[in-house]
Each structure stands twice: as structure tokens, then as C-alpha cells.
């Protein structure tokens, strides 16, 4: 955990708290079941045979476990290529969003600019998030065609970068403003240039935060579908969610392959989010709350 928390202890109310904790655990158990059940259902659906899936009554444990759907999606369906595209697109967009995010947040957190400029930039970043994708996707399609980027991962990288900027800016701003200006000042006294101070002092200090921001941006870009679908045509540019959508056919939803693809789709960002859990939690406060 980013911050260690001592549970509240009220000298007089220990027993009351015990009862409350029991109640809380009960509530959490219910919530846990509500959340775990669909995920469990997804998992067992990916392991069931087609005959069982179409059976008269749904079964709560797979009768015979089969890994066929996983072989199917990575074999004949060639989802591996889409997975690679997804990683490349989301990874590159994340990097780009972070670089641009730095270009925007560095001035407003490290330089003596007017408060108005700072507030305006932050508000403007937020307003980007209000751009409704369904309204801009068609014009973007035109632009992408015009630039010759149709069906190329680069088109998606640029679009995802744009839509990731609000998160990138707000999270970076949060992390950067936590680092005291004095650390850079010390570097200046030692004769460092602004760039040197940025690279050798600020950046290392900001790394955990940048990592967290990156992972959160990556995870949110990961499941994007609309742009990925409209701006691509072939497995050359398509991402994983587009492939997953493809399992909903005119006459049937291919349940087990779909579930297997869902499991795979969850695995990648979940692993990242788990690895960086403590930083992610800090990133999610978007720098809005600071205790100093």
C-alpha cells in the first residue's frame, strides 16, 4: 500500500467495532460474490465444451474441461497477431502520452507560471475527455484516410495518445507537484542545466509515478473498441478487442472462444496492474488530493 493505514481504534468501542467488522465482512462477501461470479462464469465458459454450453441447463462446473477455445483463438483465428498489435499500439500510445504529458505538466508544476495558466491548461486537458468518440470517429476516419494511415497501427497510436492525455496530464501533475522544487534547485547550484536537472534529478524521483500513470493509461486504452474497429480493416492493424468482437457472428455468438479471448484480454493488463499495485493506487488520486 502506498500509505500504511492503522485501523481505527477507539478505546471504548472495541466490541462495537468487532460487530461492525463482522457486518462489513458480510457486505464485502456479498460484493465479492457479485464481482467474482461473472469473472468465474467467463472462466468456466472458456473451459466448457460446446455441447455443454448449449445444453438444456447451465452447469456451474465444467463437466469436461477443454482448452480447445484457447487453441482455437491462437491457432486458426490468429489472435496472437492482434494481441501483438494491441501491445504495440497501447504501449506506444502510453509512451507518447507520457512524453506529451511531461511537456505539458512540467511547465505548470516546475516553472513560475501564473496560476491562471495552470488552471486553464488543466481544465482544458479535462475537456478533452468530453470529446464524444462516437461523434468524432467519422471525421477521424476521413483524416486518417487522407494521411494514408488507414489500417495502420500508427493511426490508433495517435488517437489513443490524444484520448489518454487527460489521464496522463492529471496523474503526472499529481506526481510532479509532490516533488519539492528544492531538489532541482540543489542541482542548479551544482551547475546543472535545466535539462540535466530534469533528467538526473526530477525524472528518477518521478519514475514510480510515471510508471503508475503509464500502466493506468495502458490498461484504459487496452479495451478500446470503436476507433480500433473503424480505423482498421485487416489483422495488420486490428487490435485484440476487434478480434473479440468478431466472435459475435450473424447467427451465433461463439461463446467459448469469446470467453477464452476475454480471459486472455484480462490477463495482460491485470498482470501489469498487479505488479505496480502500490503506485497505481497513488496514481488514481490524480493529484487532486495532497496532504501537504
Amino acid at each position: 500500500m502506498a500509505v500504511t493505514v492503522t485501523p481505527l481504534r477507539r478505546p471504548a468501542g472495541r466490541r462495537r467495532l468487532g460487530a461492525a467488522r463482522l457486518l462489513a465482512l458480510a457486505v464485502l462477501l456479498v460484493v465479492g460474490v457479485v464481482y467474482a461470479f461473472p469473472i468465474y462464469w467467463l472462466l468456466i465458459t472458456s473451459l466448457k465444451s460446446k455441447g455443454e454450453l448449449f445444453g438444456a441447463t447451465p452447469t456451474f462446473f465444467p463437466g469436461t474441461v477443454t482448452f480447445e477455445p484457447f487453441f482455437s483463438i491462437f491457432g486458426p483465428r490468429n489472435f496472437g497477431a492482434l494481441l501483438v498489435n494491441s501491445v504495440v499500439v497501447c504501449g506506444a500510445a502510453t509512451l507518447l502520452a507520457l512524453v506529451l504529458g511531461f511537456a505539458i505538466t512540467y511547465p505548470i508544476t516546475r516553472l513560475a507560471v501564473s496560476r491562471r495558466l495552470r488552471v486553464n491548461v488543466l481544465n482544458w486537458a479535462l475537456s478533452l475527455r468530453f470529446l464524444p468518440p462516437i461523434a468524432v470517429v467519422v471525421p477521424y476516419f476521413g483524416v486518417v484516410r487522407f494521411l494514408g494511415l488507414y489500417d495502420q497501427p500508427l493511426a490508433l497510436i495517435l488517437v489513443y495518445t490524444l484520448f489518454s492525455l487527460p489521464f496522463a496530464i492529471w496523474m503526472l501533475k499529481g506526481f510532479l507537484s509532490e516533488i519539492p522544487l528544492e531538489v532541482e534547485e540543489a542541482a542548479y547550484v551544482d551547475g546543472a542545466s535545466r535539462w540535466q536537472a530534469f533528467r538526473s534529478v526530477l525524472l528518477p524521483l518521478a519514475t514510480p509515478g510515471v510508471l503508475a500513470a503509464g500502466i493506468i493509461i495502458f490498461a484504459f486504452a487496452w479495451s478500446e473498441f470503436l476507433f480500433a474497429f473503424i480505423l482498421t480493416a485487416t489483422p495488420r492493424g486490428q487490435t485484440f478487442p476487434v478480434g473479440v468482437q468478431g466472435l459475435v457472428t450473424q447467427f451465433e455468438i461463439i461463446w467459448n472462444d469469446m470467453a477464452a479471448a476475454g480471459v486472455v484480454a484480462i490477463a495482460v493488463p491485470l498482470a501489469l496492474m498487479l505488479a505496480a499495485r502500490r503506485y497505481v493506487m497513488a496514481g488514481l488520486t490524480f493529484g487532486v488530493i495532497r496532504e501537504k
Binding site: K50, F141, Y150, F229, A233, T234, G246, F251, E252
Partner: protein, 430 residues
């Protein structure tokens, strides 16, 4: 220095970009890119691709999209006169849109002609403007061109449990059998495909036509609120619903096929393209050999009208490999190929293949399909507004099926919206 380096980089980039343009006019391309629909309709095509590559050295890159998305993808790609695809799979109701927009290359110029072993309707459906029935006002006087060749001969048919009763001849029989075999919770007398949008419309149109109703008359006048049409709607949302499965308004094709396959439905309409997936799949189906396939039963009009849902192959205007693409189409419709195609799970269009006894043993719906094609079946109204019309119908019919509206109210609401839409698009609809 840095600036000139940038310029050099730019120049290289430009060169690379030009080099990457789909190049070459004429000549033999190394590959053809085909936009296909995802699902059973493209199984045969995918199975044939390696054969073609072996034979000609031309690689076939098959790019699959789900049904709805394929249409959008094609519209977008045609609008941009894009060279991504050399061949595209199209559902036949899309023909008017692509025909009107002039998105496809004429096939006659590449030497594709009618074959007597293939039902005439298969060429008619790929011809624009349509050789019979109403054509959009903007298309009057245009020369007829062959723009697409059917590779999945798909006509909506009817399936019933042949182990439980005789084949229904009329919709009266359908209803009588449904009442007889309906056991709520155990067996649905009739499985309705009623999900909002395309599904319910596909399920309903054969009933509408067989009852003597229609969406338009031959002059584009909207007749969806005529007494015959309303009677057909009532038949679906009152009579059949009473003997249908629970919550039919949320059921899509797979849901009703599943009910048939596990023996919980007595009868339903069916597309040949969905038979192989569920009802005919030994891993799922408990009713193999117990399901009869027949053309759509007759309604109050005295006739039964199947509905075409043929999948066609066409060549986009933007493709630079017209001749090579046409050669592939020709090869696809050759008798030998069609046979292999059918054996590998494709739905052939050649009459001699559809009536082949050996193939019918494995695919009991081939013969009825050949019969349905000879009738010939109806196609959906030939207007580039069909998708919009279908959407309106799909919303209103679904509301009626869910019990939110009466049949009359739904018919009137749909007819009014369609009138507004069609007059707005320049049709003489009243």
C-alpha cells in the same frame, strides 16, 4: 544540418509510402485480399483458399468481420475508393446501396456469364438495377449490370421436427402443430427469432409476404399498415408468441437454433448458413436426423415466399486486380470447385450440386434449398434505404413482440417513419 537531415528523412518516408501503395495495374498479383463475413458463411471460402493458392500461386488473404461491421467496413472502404480489398462478400440487401453508389466493377467485362446450371435468380440478385420489381427512382433508365456472383446460396427456409409430425404446408398447419406440441418450459411450439433490429425482420418478412402483405408496393407506396400486413404482424406477435419460447423478443438466431438442437422447440424458420453451426453439429444437437427442412409454408395468400439472403462476391471499383479477382470468382463457381466447396462446409449455388444425392445425405437442406431457389424467393426491397427501413421495422416489430405496442400501433408507427424516410430520400412513397 539537422534540417537537411529531416528533409532527407521526409523524402525517404515519402518514397516508402509510395512504394507501399497497392501497385501494379493488370498482371498477376501475388495475393488477393477478400473481405468476408465472419461465421459459417465463410467456412467454405476459407477451406478453398489453400487449393487456389496451390493451383495458381495467388495467395488469398481473407479478412473476416462480423455481419454488422462488415457492412460499415465496406461502405467506408468504398467511399474512400480504397484498394485494400480485391473481392468483397456482400449480403444481398446491400446490393442496392453498392449498386446505386457505383461501388463495384461490372463482371461481364471479365467474361463472367450466366450458367444454365445455376438458378437465374442468383444472377438476378447480383444485377443492378434489379431486373424485376421496383427500382429506386434514381436508377431508372440505367443499364443493367452484373455486379456480384452468389457464393453462398442462402434462402430462408423452415425447419420442423420430422419425427413428430408431417411437414406443415401452410401457416395454419404451423400454428396447429405449435399448439399441439407446445409445453411451456419443455418445448416451444414455435421458436421465434425476435431480437430488435435485423433478426426479427428476417424472421418476419417471409410470414409477411406469405400473408399477402409487404413493406412497399411496386410503386414504393408504403403498405406496411395494410390489413394483410397487420394480419401478418398479429400472427407473429399474438398467435405465434402464445406458443413460442419465453422472452422471444431477446432471442437471436443462435438462441432459437439452440432450442431446436436440444429438443426444446418444435419448429422455426432457419437460414441454411446456420444449420451447420448448431442444429447440424453432432457436438451440440440431440435431434440430428429428426429435423426436416422445407421451403417456407404458404400463408393466407396461398403461396409461401422464402427470403433470399445470398452472399455475393463482388469486385470494388478501387481494386487494381479486377481480372485476377474475376478469375477467382469463375473458379469458385466451377462444378469441381463447388463440389469440394460443399464437402468442406460451403453452401453451393449450382443446381446439380445442390441436388447431388450423396451431398444431401450429409446436408438434408440442399434439396429444399434448390427448390426454394427455383420458385424464386423474394428479395428484400431494392432500395439503398433498406438498412434504415429494416431498422425501423426491427424496432417497431420488437416493441410489438415485447407487448409494448399493439400490432396496429406498431404497423402504423413503422409505416409513418418509413414514409418520412423514403420521401426524404426522393422516393414517391406515400
Amino acid at each position: 544540418m539537422t534540417r537537411s537531415r529531416w528533409l532527407a528523412l521526409l523524402a525517404v518516408a515519402a518514397l516508402v509510402a509510395t512504394a507501399c501503395q497497392p501497385g501494379g495495374t493488370g498482371g498477376k498479383p501475388s495475393k488477393l485480399t477478400i473481405a468476408a463475413v465472419q461465421g459459417n458463411e465463410s467456412i467454405g471460402l476459407k477451406a478453398l483458399a489453400p487449393d487456389y493458392e496451390k493451383k495458381t500461386g495467388i495467395k488469398l488473404e481473407i479478412v473476416e468481420s462480423p455481419y454488422d461491421q462488415l457492412y460499415e467496413k465496406l461502405v467506408n472502404s468504398f467511399k474512400a475508393n480504397d484498394a485494400t480489398f480485391d473481392l468483397v462478400m456482400m449480403d444481398d440487401p446491400w446490393m442496392p446501396k453498392f449498386g446505386t453508389d457505383g461501388s463495384l466493377q461490372e463482371l461481364g467485362q471479365f467474361g463472367i456469364t450466366r450458367d444454365p446450371d445455376i438458378a437465374p435468380v442468383i444472377y438476378d440478385v447480383g444485377t443492378w438495377p434489379p431486373p424485376r420489381g421496383a427500382a429506386p427512382p434514381s436508377e431508372k433508365g440505367k443499364p443493367q449490370q452484373l455486379l456480384g456472383i452468389t457464393i453462398v446460396g442462402n434462402v430462408q427456409m423452415f425447419m420442423y421436427r420430422s419425427d413428430m409430425s408431417e411437414a406443415p404446408k401452410t401457416y395454419d398447419d404451423v400454428l396447429a402443430n405449435a399448439k399441439k406440441f407446445n409445453q411451456p418450459g419443455k418445448m416451444a411450439g414455435y421458436a421465434i427469432r425476435g431480437k430488435a433490429g435485423n433478426p426479427i425482420v428476417a424472421d418476419f418478412l417471409p410470414i409477411l409476404w406469405s400473408f399477402g402483405g409487404d413493406v412497399f408496393d411496386e410503386n414504393w407506396k408504403v403498405v406496411f399498415d395494410s390489413p394483410d400486413s397487420v394480419a401478418a404482424i398479429k400472427f407473429l406477435v399474438e398467435d405465434l408468441k402464445a406458443v413460442g419460447q419465453a422472452s422471444p423478443d431477446t432471442s437471436d438466431a443462435a438462441d432459437r437454433a439452440r432450442l431446436m438442437a436440444i429438443g426444446e422447440a418444435y419448429q422455426s424458420s432457419v437460414w441454411p448458413g446456420e444449420v451447420a453451426g448448431i442444429v447440424g453439429d453432432p457436438a451440440v444437437s440431440k435431434v440430428i436426423g429428426k429435423v426436416g427442412f422445407i421451403p417456407i409454408p404458404a400463408g393466407k395468400s396461398g403461396k409461401g415466399f422464402g427470403m433470399m439472403g445470398n452472399w455475393l462476391l463482388g469486385i470494388p471499383k478501387g481494386s487494381k486486380n479486377g481480372q485476377a479477382a474475376a478469375d477467382f470468382i469463375k473458379w469458385m463457381t466451377e462444378k469441381e470447385t463447388q463440389k469440394t466447396y460443399a464437402e468442406k462446409g460451403g453452401i453451393p449455388s449450382r443446381t446439380s450440386i445442390l441436388t447431388d444425392p450423396a451431398l444431401n445425405e450429409k446436408n438434408p437442406y440442399f434439396k429444399p434449398l434448390a427448390d426454394s431457389l427455383q420458385v424464386p424467393p423474394n428479395w428484400r426491397p431494392r432500395t439503398d434505404q433498406w438498412n434504415a427501413v429494416e431498422n425501423i421495422l426491427g424496432t417497431e416489430l420488437n416493441a410489438a413482440l415485447a407487448g409494448q405496442k399493439t400490432a396496429e400501433a406498431a404497423a402504423k408507427a413503422a409505416a409513418d417513419q418509413i414514409r418520412t424516410l423514403m420521401t426524404g430520400a426522393g422516393y414517391p412513397s406515400q
